[in-house]
Amino acid sequence: MPGDKIYEDLSVVVRRANTVFYVVAVLVFLTLSYYWKVQIMDYKKFWDLAEANRTRTRVLSAPRGLVRDRRGVILADNKASFKVSLVRENLKKGTASYAPISALLGITEEELRSRVERYKNVPLFEPVVIKDGLEPEEIAPIEARRLEFPELDIAAEPKRSYPGKILAAHVLGYLQERTPEEVRDNEDWGLRLGDMGGRAGIERQYDALLTGQDGSVLEIVDSLGRKRGDKATQMPTPGRDVRLSIDARLQAKAEELLGDREGAVVALDPSTGEILVLASSPTFDPNRFITRFTPEEWLKLINDPSSPLENRAIRGLYAPGSIFKVIMALAGLDLGYVTDQTTVYCNGSIEIYGTRRVCWFPAGHGSMNLPNAIKNSCNIYFYSLGRQMGIDPITRAAEQMGLGRITGLDIPGEKEGLVPGSDWKLKTQKTPWFPGETISVAIGQGQLQVTPLQLAAMTAMIANRGVPTEPHLLLDAAGRRAHAARRPASPPPFKRSTFESVIQGMWMSVNDGGTGQGARVEGLNACGKTGSTQVVSRERAEMLARAGKPIKTHSWFTGFAPRDNPRIVVTVLIEFGGGGGAIAGPVAGQIFSLWKDLQTK
């Protein structure tokens, strides 16, 4: 090239520039290697992260199984319930939007604020439930203004509903939100916080059966949590249906008969142990547990001195009163202390161990054999029988007839009651048994404590001529007979003739002008026994009686029908009702009567 000296020597700078380029080239290669590592070697990890990023699982609540009565009438149902949630990130004007939202939903602004505050650690795109348990009618005005409130989200989910309201409330029990511990301990159930779980009654007993498996939708969401499509749907599996032995018609009748009185009615089929009626009064509406109580309602319910949540039929403890006389009679006959024909003369009072004890019929029943003593519920007869027997055979007989332990009914919370005895007293009170106490026990007073259900089971055993029965509510679950396998019956504790003699007395009580005549139903041949339990001490009761004042007693009746091949046992307790014959007997009579009508239909 001509005049090459025009060009200066640039070799040094060019060499330096090239060196820098080689460094750049190496850096580019190293960077590319790192991309190789991230995209090829760690591909799986980042793929999973990207998947997790864009999918959100929304739960589809599974409906609980239905609860039906023995004829298929639905006692516990599910209905669509709506809930309104707030998606905070969509709030247009921040907290300024709270006022119109609370006005729309009919809640106070503070309520809304505190509810949102509770979820402040949850990502903003997660909906916060601000009102639930809404009916379709209630949701309509909110739905209509949806466009004005893009921050509100409305969703439907199945909610428990009890169409009979208070009907069989104590049998069904109720639901409450599951505790965090419960959710943690039952991981395989797929429970979530906020789920409702059975807290009492059938809902609790068969919670595992009734609870379904929640389904889920994998939603594709964008970075703001907005839904862009569904990916996979796992449909929820509803809980299994449960059929109860309850007869809704009889149950409703029993509840109606109890009215606003405190008490309990139990009816069962003695041949199978199937419970037909299990009523307790006062009662409650389990629907209120679903739609959430107002604080006042809840306080009123739990502080109510008449304890409406308490199931008196299985948890109420009462002295059996004169009903205990049938156990006295069974034991006395069987052990040979008396025969059918052994008579005792009742002149209205008797002096035992230096204390004068009175019969409920001050004029005296005169000379009585055992069936007549049962028919007239004569105290004097059983005082003298008790004195003869002493406490130990009485304790044994009561236990043989199922008292002092739970019957095993398939709802939780049953109480076992108390059968006092010499061993028991020595153990718990460190004092020997006084013979005088036996006399109180002989007429079902003293420390004896039974539940209405126990007396119903005892009556069933008498009706079965000594074959015990296991009361139960579950007829079948999802088509399977739950109680197909019966416990092998233990041999009757007493001779069949013994039972027949006592049943004769119970028959006369109802059908031959005895104390139980209020329970008589034409053509049904019912047998029964009344009881009136002194709630106050015997001394005080006698004082009141002398003063001519009315004595408040619990009113009992227990019986079965028909006399041969018995099909139904009815036990009635009415607290502070008065005489068993006058109050509890007619209640039982009406149930017998309805049952008979329903049978012939």
Partner: protein, 364 residues
């Protein structure tokens, strides 16, 4: 001034072709990552490419020697504009660095890079020593410091960072003794510590700490790095397909069409896409750097080298940043990221290279 036929033939069409190829790929990915937004960014970018091409032809029409000698005036102009924007221009996107022209906006700081290249070319054109002396080094640093401080005050850390490429490139070319390197290291250490304690804003510090531990704050500062890395990693070998990247289409990825465009490529076209783009870049950078040998004079060498350094530096910083190896500093990927100012300044840088290269024989 017209370009005569002879000069026209000397234009490096391969370099322009590579740049245009990258730009159109950019438009393609801008479409994929922003088609669901209201603004048609890909159309705007196309217009910008056109505008940039016009700018390139203006730049190559003028002999670089004239530009170099004229650069001192451009330098004072740009310093004045930077100072002015600091005080007068309305606030946009939290930085005060935009000048509006109709619907398009220009960042003066981007133009400052081009001006700095020319000024440095002038400074070092007559410097023939084997190694850099203190006097020239000090003058160069001072020249760079004035616009740099103004840009950092805006604050625009990303653009300020690219100054390192230009200044560093010039110093390396001028020759650094071991002692000078040591002094520079100590100086930068002092600047770094001082900057950390007094200069950097909270969000900038957070970005640096996040680089060390992105999971510390996945919804905040670490979010961008995490999401970008997930996008790239989940692309695998062949990617999820055009417009099928869940990270970008579902908007998990931040700044998809601007600084994080390469994450979209990594997600939708996988390692193969990444490899092809990086390969194209490598060819472009090779073409640029190796053009140094074609320069007629010292000023030309400096211009080509600093312009190449500018592109290489932004490219490396960006692809390191989006995969979590460099702090999130707001450096776009040259030619691919959406953004007019950055596109124009990078095109002009290429124009300067073309300019030097095409005039290697010209004896004007």
């Amino acid at each position: 001034m017209m370009i005569d036929r002879r000069l026209f033939q000397e234009i490096d069409w391969i370099l322009i072709g590579l740049v245009l190829l990258l730009s159109f790929l950019g438009v393609f990915f801008i479409y994929s990552s922003s088609h669901f937004l209201a603004t048609s960014y890909y159309l705007r970018q196309l217009i910008w490419v056109g505008v940039s091409l016009v700018a390139v032809f203006i730049v190559i029409a003028v002999d670089y020697k004239f530009l170099v000698s004229f650069s001192i005036y451009l330098y004072f102009l740009i310093v004045a504009v930077l100072a002015g924007t600091l005080f007068f221009v309305r606030l946009i996107a939290g930085t005060k660095s935009w000048v509006r022209f109709g619907i398009f906006q220009i960042q003066p700081s981007e133009m400052a890079k081009v001006v700095l290249i020319l000024v440095f070319a002038r400074l070092f054109a007559e410097y023939k020593g084997r190694y850099l002396n203190t006097q020239s080094g000090g003058l160069a640093l001072l020249t760079a410091a004035v616009p740099l401080v103004l840009i950092m005050l805006q604050p625009d850390l990303g653009t300020a960072l690219t100054f390192v490429a230009i200044v560093g490139g010039a110093l390396i070319l001028a020759g650094l003794k071991k002692k000078t390197i040591l002094i520079l290291l100590v100086l930068s250490l002092i600047m770094g510590v001082g900057g950390w304690n007094f200069g950097l804003k909270g969000y900038q510090k957070r970005r640096l700490t996040t680089l060390l531990n992105p999971r510390e704050d996945p919804r905040g500062a670490g979010y961008q790095i995490n999401q970008s890395k997930i996008a790239i990693g989940s692309g695998g070998l062949a990617g999820k397909g055009f417009m099928k990247g869940s990270q970008s289409q579902l908007r998990f990825l931040p700044a998809r069409h601007t600084d994080f465009i390469f994450s979209v490529i990594g997600e939708e076209f996988g390692f193969l896409g990444v490899f092809i783009i990086i390969l194209l870049y490598f060819l472009l950078l090779a073409r640029m750097f190796l053009s140094v040998a074609k320069a007629r004079d010292r000023a030309g060498v400096y211009i080509i080298f600093m312009a190449s350094m500018l592109i290489a530096f932004q490219f490396l910083i960006n692809i390191l940043m989006i995969i979590g190896l460099f702090p999130v500093t707001g450096v776009p990927l040259p030619f691919l990221s959406y953004g007019g100012s950055s596109l124009i300044s990078n095109y002009i840088a290429c124009g300067l290279i073309l300019n030097v290269k095409m005039r290697r024989f010209a004896n004007v």
